[in-house]
Subunit: 403 residues, 2 copies
Amino acid sequence: MKIRSENMSFASREKTLKAFVHIADDVDTSANCAEGNATVPLSKATLAVKDLFDVAGMPTGFGSPIYDGNTPVTTAEAVRRAKSAGVKVVGKTVTTEFATFKPGPTVNPQNSAHTPGGSSSGSAASVGAGLVSHGIGTQTAGSVIRPAAYCGVVGFLPTMGCVSRNGLKVISPSLDRAGVFGRSVQAVSDLAGVIADLPKIAKSADAPRRIGFFEDETWADADSATQQTLQAYKSKVAEAGDVVVNLGNGKILLDLIQAQSDVMGFEALNSLEDELTNHEALISDQLSAYCAEAAGITPEKYATALEFGQAGRVWIETLLANLDAIASPSAKTLPPATLASTGDPYVNRAWSLLHTPCITLPTAPLQNNLKGAVQLVAGFGQDLNLLEIAKQHEMRVAEIGLS
Amino acid sequence: MKIRSENMSFASREKTLKAFVHIADDVDTSANCAEGNATVPLSKATLAVKDLFDVAGMPTGFGSPIYDGNTPVTTAEAVRRAKSAGVKVVGKTVTTEFATFKPGPTVNPQNSAHTPGGSSSGSAASVGAGLVSHGIGTQTAGSVIRPAAYCGVVGFLPTMGCVSRNGLKVISPSLDRAGVFGRSVQAVSDLAGVIADLPKIAKSADAPRRIGFFEDETWADADSATQQTLQAYKSKVAEAGDVVVNLGNGKILLDLIQAQSDVMGFEALNSLEDELTNHEALISDQLSAYCAEAAGITPEKYATALEFGQAGRVWIETLLANLDAIASPSAKTLPPATLASTGDPYVNRAWSLLHTPCITLPTAPLQNNLKGAVQLVAGFGQDLNLLEIAKQHEMRVAEIGLS
């Protein structure tokens, strides 16, 4: 099965991948994809932009027909910074409808019968397929880490607030964060270095690193491949001379997951009120159903969820005070064999609410040519330290396969 | 001098006022302005929308030629709510360039040689002239309270966060708030009631009210008309059977004013980075100069200013715990006799940073047909109580004239 595209034209690969909603006029789609390498300098980097960001002169639809014909005058700050660093914007990529749940046409680059995940489907898939070196997306529940994991690439979600949301359609102000995709930790680090203001916090001691693991009770729903991957990663941590720290059952995460869901539903309904009211006929059944359910979240429940998130951020900082990172699943399962759903962001929700930086690293292919993944999370603002750990563990994770 | 427009066509009055940048297609501009009354029911209300809010199908330019041809697909949530309540959107009104300092063409409705203030120039002026019953604007430094005061109308700025910013071009995320204009407290209260989620906090005791005044040292730069107005209002408070509380010199306000200025400059530069970088030729000299100065605000200085604002919010809550409101100038002077500047937001800056609700009430005409004004400020979330006090004191303020 063809994954990368070095010997295939951009147009042929894109024809089956269906990652783009708009390709820049000056892209030669008949040329072979030049950049199959994991890491290229930013001056040669190519960028896929989730169609939730404004790019001046390019149609911007947010995954909805409501915005047909909408062409922004200015460029989102994150994209503008990438361009200033010499990165070439290749085009706008498929997002689920308003970054929620209705899938677009994109397929998984590793196996076209499987979902690429969402909502940043096109950005993750085009990086996985080698059509571009880098992608940019957003996460409200799990929309950077999950599609990155599903598509077998590295996804990095910087600490809340480090990337400007100027020119981004915000669905949930308390949760939405921009994140980046690449085929190596160096690649995401390079791009994040220019689009994000990462705090210059002193690194913790180089070695040994202390990596925390919750007992798998919290992730009881995870499939066997995902659970085995985490077990294998535990061994790799020890092999690397680092320290495995048992964090107990992590049951508070279940409550944080519920709180994230309440915050997202309540805020999404507010953010999309004009679209829902004045363009009802162009709203999908999936989004209508989601909004009907979200309408049951009372202001009191929302306020409680926000407060719980705040308490959770104090809890996680305390927990991480004696750790370098926490390892956890990037997704509940390997990518489901469907294009009718983008999979479940369940395991990502708590981390979205906690605002901590997250990175997902791909394993070797585990089943059906699909890679697994491990997520590493660090404390608020510890982005540079997290990237360092990820660089050190990247090759070890890439070696993980199923016996 | 003609102020209201009952016996004049909309088109004739607008010709000299220059408040609108776009008038809705279904407005009969040859008809006389119907609503000269201070208060009309919302179902008969007409609304002027500052051209910083998206209104679907209407050109939206943010006071800058960069956005020529920009026509949003959706409507800002605040405006959508007003429309849902039956309010008729009459058009988009003049804003200074990106709600900063370069004046538009609008004149003061009370005296066309004087500035109407800014940045919500057109909304305030069109309400003052009687072209519409209501206006909506935004304040970062003093852009609701100052133009309302200059144009002789009531301006109300609800507590930070009570009005959605969805569909509003945000210049300074830590400061920008939407506010409303009307010709009576009832009018602004009616509109705020539908566009804002005002906290349902129990009112303080009905009477006597405790109204705080800082000693005028803080406002040493204020002109004599403004100082006399505040003195006259002090007497009116006592006449009404309420209590005047002396708050000392209020020197901390000077530091808050500086902090607001630092926060605004730093954030504006970030928010407008694409425009400044990629459309430099279309940026005014005034804005360029402002940005050049703002570029000197270091991230450290910005962080300090943000923290000082937070400390200020604790201070003002403590101070207001034993007060119903604080009275202060709505503007430093009566509207300056110029159209080359929109006047000085100096006395508004601290309150913008403090996030407290503010309302300005007009006096009788004081000089050159120009009314003065008094600002009342209440604690965070005490909007309903503030509106009650303003209703009780509205007529007394309207009686204030210079001897």
